[in-house]
Amino acid sequence: MTPLAKLLEAALFASPRPISLAELAELDPEAPLAAVTAALEELREHYNVDGHGVELVELGGGWQILTRAEYTEAIERAQLAARPQRLSAAALETLAIVAYRQPIGRAEIEEIRGVNVGGVLKSLHERGLVDVVGRAEGLGRPLLYGTTPQFLEHFALRHLQELPRADELAIALRSAEPAGVE
């Protein structure tokens, strides 16, 4: 590949959006527009002739490298098959606090855990394990969090009452591994 084609490839790969011809031309101020067009054509040819998993496409007023359609299914399938990620210790602790104290505000969780839990709460929310269930009284009316049906599913619980009571916890932990917990 020519140096210009390599530069274009790197830029197209790194950019979060399609890149217009004018923007691509700015990568090398020395290169005339015709050379940029030729390098794009070279890159496209290379991906097609050499047989690559990606292709160069023009869309939305710009150029973009995309994975070939024939592979998207395999990639999606692999993502589904990928082993579920383990929850971090921080996430599990926060989740436990929410489960037992719901509805509970962020400040109260942070008081118990002694660290900022903003990021953890966000990721628990994104995973659908906790949700906002209301707002507390008082200053700023902070959001209150509770667990979701997915939470029960994740831990193979039929309902929240199936969690051992706080005062039974020590005995429950001693007598059995909690079922279904990763």
Binding site: A10, A14, S15, P16, L66, V132, V133, R135, E137, R141
Partner: protein
């Protein structure tokens, strides 16, 4: 770069500015740089000289308000005093500098790792990863069969119909969502379906309207009710959600 150079280089920089720039990442860093500048043996630190230099430096750098630097200064002065005590004859003499030397070495070792991480981090920084992510799977269906904008438009209409609040009279009463929730629940206990305007029949005070809106959204979110608007600009219908309540 030493703090002094920094002081010279910062145009019009006062002491506070320098502290903010964090020329040194802590008292151990400063101490280590003094030891290097003075070219003294770390295992045999001339403590009186270094202590004085340290004090002078934290004054120059305006670091004498930082507790951590002051604490180190106090520690150095204490060691200096201990060094002046007569050494016991025949007994094993424990060097009062030993603990400081251990900490300095430990810190120096960590700095070696920092250099390595910095190098590796800089290499990685110079390479871009893929940032374009193709459009994801569509978001899960919204919980409401109604967009917030529609609901807000309905609120707007109710507010328009209400008495015009005087311009300077900022809504003084805080929103009272729990009260609104109580009203909505009470009405839904009587009837399985009500209209938004019916809830507002006995008051169109803006704070009550907003409280009611918040209350509706919250109850909808926890699944106690469903909100529905048959067509644009129509009255909003609120329905008890039996399934949601049972869950």
């Amino acid at each position: 770069m030493t703090g002094d150079q920094l002081l010279l280089e910062s145009p019009g920089g006062d002491a506070a500015f320098v502290v903010e720039l964090k020329a040194f990442s802590g008292p151990l860093d400063l101490l280590l740089s003094l030891i290097r500048e003075e070219q003294v043996d770390i295992y045999d630190i001339p403590i009186a000289r270094i202590a004085e230099q340290f004090l002078a430096r934290i004054r120059t750098l305006g670091l004498n308000d930082a507790a951590e630097y002051l604490e180190m200064a106090a520690r150095l002065l204490r060691i200096k005093a201990q060094m002046l005590l007569p050494r016991p004859d025949g007994e094993v003499w424990e060097d009062p500098r030993a603990e400081l030397v251990r900490r300095l070495l430990e810190y120096q070792q960590m700095r070696e790792v920092v250099d390595l991480l910095e190098r590796r981090g800089e290499e990685r920084r110079n390479q871009f990863a893929r940032t374009f992510t193709p459009p994801d799977a569509p978001a899960p269906p919204p919980m409401l069969a109604l967009s917030l904008a529609d609901l807000l438009a309905a609120v707007d209409r109710v507010l328009r119909a209400a008495k015009r609040p005087s311009v300077h009279d900022v809504v003084s009463r805080p929103l009272d969502v729990p009260a609104a929730v109580a009203v909505i629940r009470a009405l839904l206990a009587l009837r399985s379906r009500i209209r938004f305007t019916e809830i507002l029949r006995h008051s169109t005070d803006p704070s009550f309207v907003l409280s009611t809106l918040m209350g509706l959204l919250e109850l909808a979110k926890v699944g106690e009710l469903r909100v529905h608007q048959p067509r644009p600009f129509a009255n909003v219908e609120i329905e008890r959600d039996a399934a949601g309540q049972a869950a």
